[in-house]
Structure formats: C-alpha cells, structure tokens
C-alpha cells in the first residue's frame, strides 16, 4: 500500500472491476448542497415579485388596503383581470388592454415575418453569393447595429410623415423591420457561413438558382436559427415601448404603451390589483414563448457547424 503512493505502476482503482448494471447515481455531495441552496435562494428572490403580483391581482381593493402584500388572498376574485382586459380606461378609450393586445399582435406578427424573411435572404446572399460590394454592404449593416436609436428617431419620424404612414400600424411595422435588420442579418450570415461551401457548389452544378438554393436547401437547414430569430424578434417587438410611443397614435398603441398609461395614470385611486393583472397579461406572450421554445432556443444558439 505504502509504495503505491510513490510509484505510478499500480493503477488506482476508480470503479469496481466487477461493475455491472446501471451506473450508480451520485448522492448529494457537500458541494452540490451548497450549489443547490444558492440556486434555490436566487430562484426565490426572482420569483417573489411574481408571487406578489399574482396574489395582489387576485385580491379585492379592501384587502389590498390592509397592506400585507405577501398574504395570499382570503377571497379570490378575477374581477381585476376582467377589468384590466376589457374595461379599464386609458386616455379616452375604455375598452381595456384588449385593444393594446390586438394592436401588439398586428404589429408583432408582420414585423417578425418581414424582418426575418428579409434578413435571412440578406444573410444567405452575403455569406454564399459574395457579390461585388458585399463587404461594404455588410460593414454598413454592422455599423447600423451600433448607432444609438435616439439618433435615428427624428429622421425616421420625418421619413414616415413624408411617406404618409406616420402613426399607422404599417409605419411601426416598417420601423421594427428596419431596426431588426442588422442583428438578424448578422445572425443569418454567420449561420449560413457555417454551411459547407461544397454544398452550395453542388447545388449550382445541379442547376439551382438563387431562390431554388435558398428555399429548397438553405431554408430547411436553417430551422434552428429561424427559431432563434423568431424568439428574439417576437420578444423584442412585443416588449418595445419606445417605438410604440413615438410612431403610433393612441388608437394604435401597443400593449406596453397602454400598460404604462394604466399604471401611471394620475386620476383616481390606484387600483393595484388591476395594475398587477394588466402587467401579467402583457407579460404573458413573451413568457409563453420562452416556456414552449426554451429548449429549441438553446439548441439553435448552440448549432454552430452544420454537417452534411
């Protein structure tokens, strides 16, 4: 035994030589316990506000007035949710958040679709076709990604006014599509750059043109990155407040702007339960997307090389 510690000739047994059956599960080690308790504390810390919002939105105003924000509701009521959705007043309109919700849908769906459609073609052309001036074009796009939004807002307002769609939903869709372009193009360009060049060459020998290669070969391969792009864009556009406030008129306000108007309204009593319900309602869409697509998202981000 003693010389085993000094020479390297005796191999140290790590697992029993007669091991059979399923791999033995590791029990909690001290290190794991520390890690898990730390994670639990962090999770609690982040879940607590959600919990407070949830219980508050289910209480009536008298109960809220008692002031104990952590107490569960003694009497559950969905009244605040209904009110937030359909009757609460924002400015002149008294049809609740539902208006903002549908506005947001009308803004988000086309914006996501157009921005991804255009950016994926951009990325495909930039990475595989290498046309003249491709590098210049790409550099301009990248610079575009680093220019602060504030610089472009005023010119954009004038531009939209000149075209005649300032305040319209279509104007907002256009703005979102344009502002999503640099980062999405970069995303798709990098993805398509990892596609083996020989695949592209083979398709050209097979007589496929620009669009045939894009639709029949590249797009089906790009599914993981499409999922990533959809998630990124949907959450970004749904959560957008700045462009919504600037580029739309009150009847077209997206949900975020409407939520702000409800929560920050200065008239009357603050209805905390309605505010909480409204906030949860507007967070619902991004939350759902994260929940159903979390796994796909990670897979898409991790998908670097594409093997033929």
């Amino acid at each position: 035994m003693a010389d085993a510690t000094f020479t390297h000739t005796t191999p140290r047994r790590i697992w029993p030589a007669d091991a059979a059956g399923p791999r033995p599960r590791k029990r909690f080690s001290q290190r794991n316990i520390i890690i898990y308790s730390l994670l639990a504390v962090l999770a609690l810390y982040y879940l607590l506000p959600l919990y407070v919002m949830m219980v508050t939105s289910l209480k009536g105003m008298p109960e809220i007035a008692l002031g104990n924000i952590f107490a569960p509701p003694t009497e559950i009521t969905f009244e605040p949710w209904v009110k937030a959705w359909s009757t609460v007043c924002t400015g002149l309109n008294c049809d609740g958040l539902s208006r903002g919700f549908w506005n947001s849908v009308k803004i988000t769906v086309p914006s996501v679709f157009f921005s991804i459609a255009i950016a994926s073609v951009n990325g495909y052309a930039l990475s595989l076709w290498r046309f003249k001036g491709a590098n210049v074009f790409f550099t301009i796009l990248i610079i575009g990604a680093f220019i602060p939004y504030q610089v472009m807002i005023y010119p954009m307002v004038i531009l939209l006014r000149e075209i005649g769609i300032y305040g319209d939903l279509s104007g907002l869709v256009l703005v979102h599509t344009i502002f999503g372009m640099p980062i999405l193009t970069l995303l798709f360009r990098n993805y398509f750059s990892s596609v083996p060049e020989e695949l592209f060459k083979a398709a050209r020998v097979d007589g496929a043109g620009f669009w045939a290669i894009y639709f029949r070969i590249m797009l089906p391969m790009a599914l993981p990155i499409l999922v990533v792009a959809v998630i990124l864009q949907t959450t970004a556009i749904w959560n957008d407040f700045l462009f919504g406030v600037i580029f739309s008129r009150p009847t077209n306000y997206p949900m975020t702007v409407q939520l702000n108007n409800i929560v920050n309204s200065v008239q009357g009593v603050k209805e905390y339960n309605v505010n909480m319900a409204a906030t949860l309602l507007s967070a619902l869409v991004p939350l759902t997307i994260y929940l159903i697509s979390g796994k796909l998202f990670v897979r898409g981000i991790a998908a670097g090389a594409v093997k033929g």
């Binding site: 060459k201 020998v205 093997k307 033929g308």
Partner: protein
Amino acid sequence: MQSNVSIKNLRLEYGPVAVLKDLDLDIGKGEFLVLLGSSGCGKSTLLNCIAGLLEPTDGSIFINGQNVTWAEPSERGIGMVFQSYALYPQMTVEGNLTFGLRNAKVPKDEIKRRVAKASDMLQIQPLLSRKPAALSGGQRQRVAIGRALVRDVDVFLFDEPLSNLDAKLRAELRVEIKRLHQRLGNTMIYVTHDQVEAMTLADRIAIMRGGVVLQLAAPKEIYNRPAHKYVADFIGSPAMNFLDAVIDPREPLIARAGDLAIPLEHYDFERHGHTGPVWFGIRPENLATGDAANSAPVQVDLIAELVEPMGAETLVWSTLFGTPFKLRMDGQARIEAGDVVRVGLDPKLASIFDKSDELRV
C-alpha cells in the same frame, strides 16, 4: 485523339496572387486525367474553373468544342463529386439524386429510369429513401457519385472524392470508379494528392505546382522519366535519392558525385551535352543488391543505419556523401543496422536534373 475538355491560357488571380498561371491543358474524349499535386497548388481551383464555380481572370475553357468560359455550371455538361460529399441534408437519397433533374425539368419517367440505372450501378437502391445523415461515409460518397451519374453528362469532375474515407473503403471505391470509367467511357478529371490513386486510375497524370502543370504524361512515363526534380521527388514512395553531382564540360559523359565517377553512356539524355552542377536521382527500388550489385556499372558500399522490415520488402536508410540515401531490398534479405551493403547503381535507370532550372537533363 479528339479533345473533349480544353483549357487555354487559364489564369485566376485573387488580388495580387495568381493561383493559376496561364495554364494550358487538353483532355481527350474518354480520358481519365488525374490532377496531382501537393496542398494549395491550385488543383481544386482549376477544377472549379472547369465546373464554372469560379470565374477565371483570363483565358478560356472549351468543353465538347464549345466555349463555356462564361456558361453556368449546369449548362456545361459536367457532373461533380466533392470531397465532403456535399449531399443535401434535408433530402432523401432519391431527392439528392433527382434534384438536378427536377431543376432541369426532365420528364418523370426519364428521371425514374436514370435513377434506377445509377442506383443499380452503384448498389444504392436500398438506401433511396434514407436521409444522408443515416448513411456511412462510403455510402454517402456512392450517392454523391450517383448524383453526378444521373446527369448523364460527358465530363465528370472529382475533387478528392475518397480522401474522407478509411484506407479499405478508399481502395474499394477506387476500383469501383475505375470500373465505372471503363463502363461509361466518360471523360473524367480527378483531383487527388494520393499518388497511389493517381498511378492506378489515370490514363494521364498532370502534376501541378504553384498554378502550373509541370508534367503531363502517362503514369509510367511520369514514374520512369520525370521531367522535373519536383515530379521525381513527388512520385514514388519512398522518394527518389538525390546525389549532389557535377558534369564537367571536359568529360560530358561522366557525372561525378563525391568520389564516384558515374558513366553516362547509357543514360537516356533529354538534353545532350548538358554540363554543370546537377542532381543525380535514383529510386530506392532501382538499386541493385547482392549478386546483381556486382554486375552493375557503378558500385558503392553503404552502411545500413536503420532497417525497416515491411513484409514484402525491407527499407534500408543510409547516408552517401552526406545526404540521406534509401534503399529498397527484398523482404527476405538478412540485414541489420550496422551491416555494410554493396549497392549497384545503373545510370540507365537514373534521372538527372539541372541544379538551376531543376529540369531533366
């Protein structure tokens, strides 16, 4: 011989770097031409130019007598097989085979007929409904060859099709490609840096270096009469031995290397009367040992420094006049490191290259 693919003055530059330098090449109908050269010499570039996947800076390319320099790849009557297989990952094997035909709007029953023929030839019928991810490397390469086959073209281009495969599969598919060529009689242009593939497959080999063709000849000719020192060095394994030698103008039929005087009366001169410093090259397998050594025109005693028995043959490493010298002996020869071996050297089997232009003397 009627020429099928003809390349005239082809030049390709990336900015200031010329990758192909005014290259000329004529490939006969039904010929199997191998482009051989070390990495980066421009083989793939040349092939891509022929395929129409790269635009040449200058020069022209003719296929079947037509100038196709600016034609689209699909209009040139070529099929191409790539090193990485390049199968469309989202399509089945059948989808891969038929993609080009569908693009060309070939009638359905014609597509069916061609797929049946190609898959029969390559024995891939059982795989037709699978996706490429579910195939082995050898199967993938068969499908890739099939994809070129169904196009029913005159010219096949192969870019190192076997180099991703293991040794055994490579040998199998090599034979299969050779058989395919005999059966179809197409023109094939085949890029490789494997000299065994080149020697076994080719009707003619073009050895490239730095964007030019150094020698274009049949495999035997390339092996026996390399036109350039680089070619001599590149072909043959183990590589040719080179001795530092001089041909004195006063006695132009004697090459002196160290204290050896090698008579050149029987050497097959390319350039008669050439004199000056030269490389005297002789292949390890052309050196005689044992009794045969004693009857050779030039004899020299070597000390075996390292012996590598390889079964059928034994490789002996030694040094002659300060340069490494290899010698290939029969596998049954009894020899050990430290032994003295008498070696016979026949100038008829040698290759001599001028030291300044490295061309054959």
